[in-house]
């Protein structure tokens, strides 16, 4: 026997499994809706119970079920004509158009001494949302600039305190400790602010994560990483993404995540190979410093001490190894994480197909950084549009069931301070890597 939550948000039941199957065929329930088995306390998606799982489809070579949703629909079910093919994510932004919006943003931000930055952020995000189309509909960005302004002011004060206290190590350490304890809170607030202010087809997204869970994956687990020589890093990353994705909802429907620790180990392992030259360079630098120290000890007063500029030259030489290797490694990591994240995320049966290629991202990001640096930042909008286009082109959506059937959830408003903090301190929390 089960208790279910109906379209109207009320509890129904207890009812039998057969009754639920009947309701599903009558389209009164969708597999995305919540149910609880009698005697248990946990609410789960109906589709997550073995009784109502779609008949096990043959597993494809890649370990994923085949894409044809028709195979998972019960015969005779009154399911709508949902598109069976993977649907593209269409990005329609144009850089000349965005350039004009961006430059007005920058100009007004300067003229208003930074106050307009909040409005600028809303216009920027609105532009990218309005130009991203999924299943024929664009996204809405609904944030209130005044809230972002408050967030910016608070975070600006925190940043100033941290920057100034850097000169007083003890105070700085105390502030840093306080800030670290607060960081998981900033993270959940940032995720919630962005999710709740993004909507598609009139329904808002939401993020339901709480401080406790956030502190576990963003504070306590990372603290253990150094003791394992970094070996724990993929495990922690998996826990973080699991936390972030599973607490996102669209309307009342929660996202699912099934990325395994093994998959994370694979991405981190290959990324490590790219960083080998960087590690070698650091060991080289340490060896260089030790040699220096020994020579000055031995040589006494007679030895010619190395000049600061020769040290600088050594540093520049290292830049030619460290910077390119780091840059290439980061792009590999970003492309693979993008695919890992989206390919393992789902929304009540709706799945995502991500196929970002490392070399495409490397080419786009390299030319982006080069052109932005050469134009003193003026072609930043061009770079932003290219990155967004690549991400959209790399993603497809495989709908399951009727995309018209998602239902709204009750929501409360949330302040923007976490979002501002995220912009400023750049926590690595993005849904889409």
């Amino acid at each position: 026997m089960f208790t279910i939550i109906g379209v109207d948000g009320k509890e129904y039941g207890p009812v039998t499994a057969d009754q639920i199957r009947q309701w599903i065929t009558e389209n009164r329930l969708t597999p995305a809706m919540q149910a609880r088995r009698e005697g248990e306390t946990e609410w789960r998606r109906i589709a997550d119970f073995a009784e109502f799982a779609p008949p096990a489809p043959p597993v494809g070579a890649d370990g994923m079920p085949p894409l044809d949703p028709a195979a998972t629909v019960a015969p005779g079910a009154a399911l709508p004509a949902a598109p069976a093919e993977p649907q593209p994510v269409v990005f329609t932004g144009e850089w000349t158009e965005y350039f004009k919006i961006w430059i007005v943003n920058v100009l007004l931000t300067i003229v208003t001494l930074g106050i307009y930055a909040a409005w600028a952020k809303v216009r920027k995000r609105r532009y990218f949302c309005a130009n991203t189309r999924v299943l024929g509909h664009t996204f809405e960005y609904l944030a209130d600039p005044v809230k972002i302004l408050y967030g910016n002011l608070i975070v600006g004060a925190i940043f100033l305190a941290l920057a100034l206290s850097q000169m007083m190590p003890l105070l700085y350490l105390c502030l840093l400790l306080l800030f670290s304890i607060a960081a998981p809170w900033f993270i959940v607030r940032a995720l919630a602010f962005n999710a709740r202010n993004t909507a598609w087809r009139g329904l808002r997204f939401n993020f339901t994560g709480k401080y406790g869970g956030s502190a576990m994956v963003f504070l306590l687990w990372p603290l253990m990483v150094p003791f394992t020589m970094g070996l724990l890093m993929p495990v922690v990353a998996q826990k973080q993404k699991d936390f972030v994705v599973k607490h996102h909802t669209f309307g009342r429907t929660a996202f699912g995540f099934r990325g395994t620790v093994e998959a994370f180990f694979k991405v981190y392992g290959v990324t490590l190979l790219f960083f080998l030259p960087v590690i070698a360079a650091y060991f080289g630098f340490i060896a260089f410093m030790i040699k220096l120290a020994i020579e000055t000890q031995k040589g006494g007063g007679g030895a010619r001490p190395p000049s600061t500029d020769s040290l600088a030259l050594f540093g520049i030489a290292m830049l030619f190894v460290v910077v390119p290797a780091t840059f290439i490694g980061i792009q590999y990591f970003r492309a693979r994480m993008f695919n890992l994240l989206w390919n393992n995320s789902s929304l009540a049966g709706t799945r995502f197909l991500a196929s970002m290629r490392f070399r495409d991202l490397l080419l786009v990001e390299f030319t982006n950084k080069l052109v932005v640096a050469l134009t003193l930042g003026f072609l930043f909008p061009w770079a932003a549009i290219r990155t967004a286009k690549l991400r959209a082109d790399s993603l497809k959506i495989v709908p399951f069931g009727n995309p018209d059937d998602f239902i709204a959830a009750e929501q409360s408003a949330v302040g923007a301070v976490g979002d501002s903090a995220n912009d400023f301190f750049d926590f690595d929390i993005g849904f889409g890597a």
Binding site: M168, L203, T308, D404
Partner: protein, 341 residues
């Protein structure tokens, strides 16, 4: 009355409805009509999103429903008569004018130049001199403590030698009329060679190697005069303030904090910071010349010492271009000192 096609969402489900919007100007009613939708909304329950690029716009209703409208021009024309209080699309007009963009590029370029050359140094100077003395004292003490642990060793100079140098320095200060409470610290610099540097607290650290390198004690006083200038002008504080301002400004303009630290921003930031540092060195040289002259000492001693330091370090053998150096080329500094009459 104009009809505009739109897509209606009730805000409770993700189902789209094709509708027609009818705007009744006289009674201020918006009629939303479709196959399963029939709504009449009062003007005060309707909010129209501002226009942005070519993208569709949302018209939101007080009950959580909304309409997505693609035809921006028609919508603007209707709104102008139906709800004039919504205001014009002045922001959109700014954002679509190439002429304005051209002006903005020029203004921004000029503003960037002015901020880097004048605004930032001016602001950092103001703030640096506003910070209380207690702050600079703590800052200097803690820095020296950290340096002592990392790269400084106790001096090997004899007690008599130290007393002689301190006395020379005190005589110079008195003659130059400088009453700032400086404090001289002698240290051996592990592997760094001849050097001297000033901390914000007024502490000046001078390395044994520098004392040995000098052939005349007046040369040491000349170097100290240069470091005194760094202290009085609060160069260390100003450098910290300017450098962090550059990082923040870069992040603000590009809207991207991570790349500042990583790739695109690191080089320009570093070049700017070197430029600020060179300007401080020039300012300290000029100030030292003035004070030395006031104390009746020949500023040429500073030039001599710079020459000695340069050949001891072998600096100018490296063809590092000027924009990448933290100090101006030694020859240029020597010429400037000798040329200051």
């Amino acid at each position: 009355m104009t009809d505009i096609p739109a897509t209606y969402f009730d805000g409770r489900t993700s189902r789209p409805h094709a509708v027609t919007l009818r705007w009744h100007a006289l009674d201020g009613v918006l009629e939303v009509a479709g196959e399963e939708v029939a709504l009449r909304l009062a003007r005060r329950d309707v909010t129209v999103e501002s226009r942005l690029g070519r993208g569709p716009r949302f018209i939101r209703f007080a009950d959580g429903g909304r309409c997505e409208v693609a035809d921006n021009d028609t919508l603007d024309a209707v709104i102008a008569t139906w709800a004039p209080q919504h205001g014009g699309n002045w922001l959109h007009r700014l954002e679509t004018s190439w002429r304005l963009v051209a002006v903005a590029v020029v203004v921004l370029g000029a503003a960037m130049w002015a901020a880097i050359h004048h605004g930032l140094p001016w602001g950092a100077k103001k703030v640096a001199f506003m910070l209380p003395a207690e702050f600079t004292r703590v800052l200097g003490d803690q820095t020296l403590e950290a340096l002592d642990r990392a790269m400084l060793a106790p001096t090997t100079l004899t007690h008599e030698r130290q007393i002689k140098l301190r006395a020379d320095f005190a005589a110079f200060l008195q003659a130059a009329g400088d009453t700032t409470p400086y404090q001289i610290e002698f240290r051996a610099l592990k592997g760094q060679g001849a050097n001297a540097f000033a901390l914000p607290s007024g502490t000046i650290v001078i390395s044994d190697e520098l004392v040995l390198l000098a052939e005349d004690d007046r040369e040491i006083v000349a170097v100290l005069a240069h470091e005194c200038a760094h202290v009085r002008h609060r160069h260390v504080l100003r450098a910290v303030l300017q450098n962090s301002a550059v990082v923040v400004a870069f992040a603000l303009v590009t809207g991207d904090a991570s790349s500042t630290a990583a790739f695109g921003g690191a080089v320009p930031t570093w070049l700017l910071q070197s430029k600020f540092s060179r300007e401080f060195e020039r300012e300290a040289d000029a100030d030292a010349v003035e004070k030395l002259r006031a104390a009746g000492l020949d500023p040429a001693h500073l030039a001599t010492m710079l020459g000695r330091l340069s050949s001891a370090h072998g600096d100018d053998k490296l063809a590092l271009p000027e924009y990448a150096r933290s100090h101006p080329p030694t020859q240029e500094r020597i010429n400037a000192i000798k040329g200051a009459r």
